[in-house]
């Protein structure tokens, strides 16, 4: 998508969990244009030594209020900068960018780990509640704070240490849930090992899988080839422009 550049006023910017922040920004044009899976490329206006933008998936939009919401993890200097902004300050937004998820009106499964759950929140809000099963995996109970944010039929959780939900990784419960829900498609976002495993299970179950990928980005608008990954048949894809959401077949099963 062609993004819109807006200097948005921050309405809310507070931690929602250890090292994870939620930010709400007034950016009506972006809110209006956004679809689930697209992202906003944020400029760090306050510190000019950080010249590159930071891509963050949209977790929610409110067209009436004209706001967009993101949920982001403190990963380094840029996200730390962002976390230091207070309500009332402004942030440079460029979005929505990229190609989002293909919505379905059949039963679906959304499966995410870490901040990869963020775009799934937005997706869930656009799907029929009764069709959606969400699986969230975390290392430990405190990483499952997401569950309250979803308003869907069913949420299944897993933790590596068994401190909440089922002990294990999210993908462990996938095959069973595909069968029991009769899901037609799996949408996934999270750490690479996880999403690869999810894609393999979906493939084994012969249903489609859309995966949201990350890449270190420059422009975010398709001009610099900084974010390129390998696709099927020797193709190169720009994550910012051809993705971040891809059909798993295109990017993981390239033979």
């Amino acid at each position: 998508m062609t993004g819109i550049k807006q200097i948005g006023t921050i309405i809310y910017n507070e931690p929602v969990a250890q090292s994870v922040y939620k930010m709400v920004v007034n950016a009506p044009d972006i809110a209006k244009a956004a679809v689930p899976g697209t992202f906003v490329h944020f400029g760090l206006m306050q510190d000019s030594s950080h010249i590159l933008r930071r891509p963050i998936s949209l977790a929610e939009t409110d067209i009436e209020k004209g706001t967009i919401t993101i949920i982001y993890r403190l990963a380094g200097e840029g996200t730390t900068c962002m976390s230091q902004l207070s309500a009332g300050q402004v942030i440079d937004c460029l979005g929505p960018l990229g190609r989002g998820f293909t919505p379905s009106d059949k039963p679906v499964i959304l499966i995410g780990g870490g901040v990869g759950v963020a775009p799934l929140l937005f997706l869930a809000s656009k799907l029929k509640k009764e069709n959606v099963t969400v699986i969230i995996g975390g290392k430990t109970a405190s990483e499952l704070f997401w569950t309250d944010m979803f308003d869907v039929q069913k949420i299944v959780t897993t933790t590596d240490d068994g401190s909440a939900g089922k002990k294990g990784v999210a993908a462990d419960v996938l095959a069973e849930l595909i069968q029991s829900t009769g899901a037609a498609i799996v949408y996934t976002c999270g750490p690479t090992p996880m999403v690869k495993k999810v894609a393999e299970i979906a493939k084994a179950c012969r249903i489609s899988c859309e995966v949201s990928l990350e890449a270190y980005m420059g422009c975010g608008t398709g001009g610099c080839l900084g974010c390129v990954i390998d696709g099927r048949g020797g193709k190169r894809y720009k994550v910012c422009h051809d993705g971040p959401v891809f059909d798993a077949e295109e990017v993981f099963f390239r033979a």
Binding site: T2, L52, G218, G223, C224, L225, G226, C227, V228
Partner: protein
């Protein structure tokens, strides 16, 4: 105020989209009016298609960035057949930025691109991101001159030779390509750099090294443009860290007849038109009739 004639080509402004950060221009058609851009230097072309480097290609550094794209491009033929026709629907001069892996390739590409729709050739003898690649030509005045001569022999277009800053003496390279027939020079390409992840102990860049660009390099770029402009009589296109109209003016004062904007487009897709407007305002503020009046005014 901004109209500029560069090597005989009339441009609406001296602000050019640098190669590699503006795609083939078309990627930005929805963000700005391509017809208002001074000229577009397209993504670096090679004779055959190139996949570019694997691994991480972009890394932020203080007030700058490293890249090791590695010249990913569809090759000259696909450019001519698939991309140029679309570009030609716009009223903007096109600079074909070319990189060869040997001297003959430069000649072949120049010949293939000696066609309508191309207004300049920009000869990249300075890409730091490809192995046994073109950087080698740019660091040695003799081979730089050889490349220049073969390109000149194969084209009717004005030939701009793009120089690398990774040299001891920029003047000797500038003078050598001028003597070999270059119609202009552009500089600087990126400075060779490296960043290491202190947690993983691995280089950040997939290609280990990358090219440094952005505001961080501006003082080096201004110095080299100044030195080169004092030494040659052909026009100089200045670049390296231009983020504002005042930055553009700084390069022109140093002796650049035109400027290119690279990294700034990564910061904002509309950077080129923003910078163009600011340069116009700067000129108005200084009471100029044409911005060209400031070229080389810093002695």
């Amino acid at each position: 105020m901004l109209e500029t004639v560069l090597c005989g080509v009339t441009m609406k402004s001296p602000v050019i989209a640098a190669s590699g950060t503006f795609g083939f221009g078309l990627e930005y058609a929805n963000y700005l009016d391509l017809n208002t851009v001074g000229a577009i230097s397209v993504k670096g072309l090679s004779l055959k298609p190139r996949r570019g480097n694997d691994g991480r290609r972009i890394c932020e550094t203080p007030s700058g960035m490293l890249n090791c794209i590695g010249l990913e491009n569809p090759g000259v033929e696909s450019f001519i057949n698939d991309i140029l026709p679309q570009l030609s629907t716009y009223d903007v001069p096109i600079m074909a930025n070319i990189s060869g892996s040997d001297i003959e390739e430069y000649g072949k590409m120049a010949a293939l691109l000696d066609i309508e729709g191309i207004d300049f050739l920009e000869v990249n003898i300075s890409c730091p991101n490809v192995k046994n690649g073109c950087l080698a030509f740019g660091v040695d005045p003799v081979s730089a001159a050889q490349v220049t001569r073969i390109v000149k022999k194969n084209t009717h277009k004005p030939v701009i030779v793009k120089l690398t800053p990774n040299v001891t003496d920029i003047v000797s390279v500038a003078v050598a390509v001028e003597a070999a027939g270059a119609d202009g020079i552009s500089l600087i390409n990126t400075l060779l750099g490296m960043a290491i992840d202190v947690d993983t102990w691995q280089p950040f860049m997939g290609n280990r090294f990358g090219g440094l660009s952005g505001p961080a390099v501006k003082p080096v770029a201004v110095r080299m443009v100044y030195q080169a402009a004092q030494a040659v009589h052909i026009p100089v296109i200045g670049m390296g860290g231009i983020m504002s109209g005042r930055d553009a003016a700084e390069f022109m004062l140093a002796g650049a007849s035109a400027v290119s904007v690279g990294t700034a487009t990564l910061c904002s897709p509309t950077a080129i038109v923003d910078i163009t407007k600011e340069l116009e305002q700067y000129g108005q503020g200084k009471g100029l009739v044409n911005i060209g009046e400031i070229v080389g005014q810093c002695k």
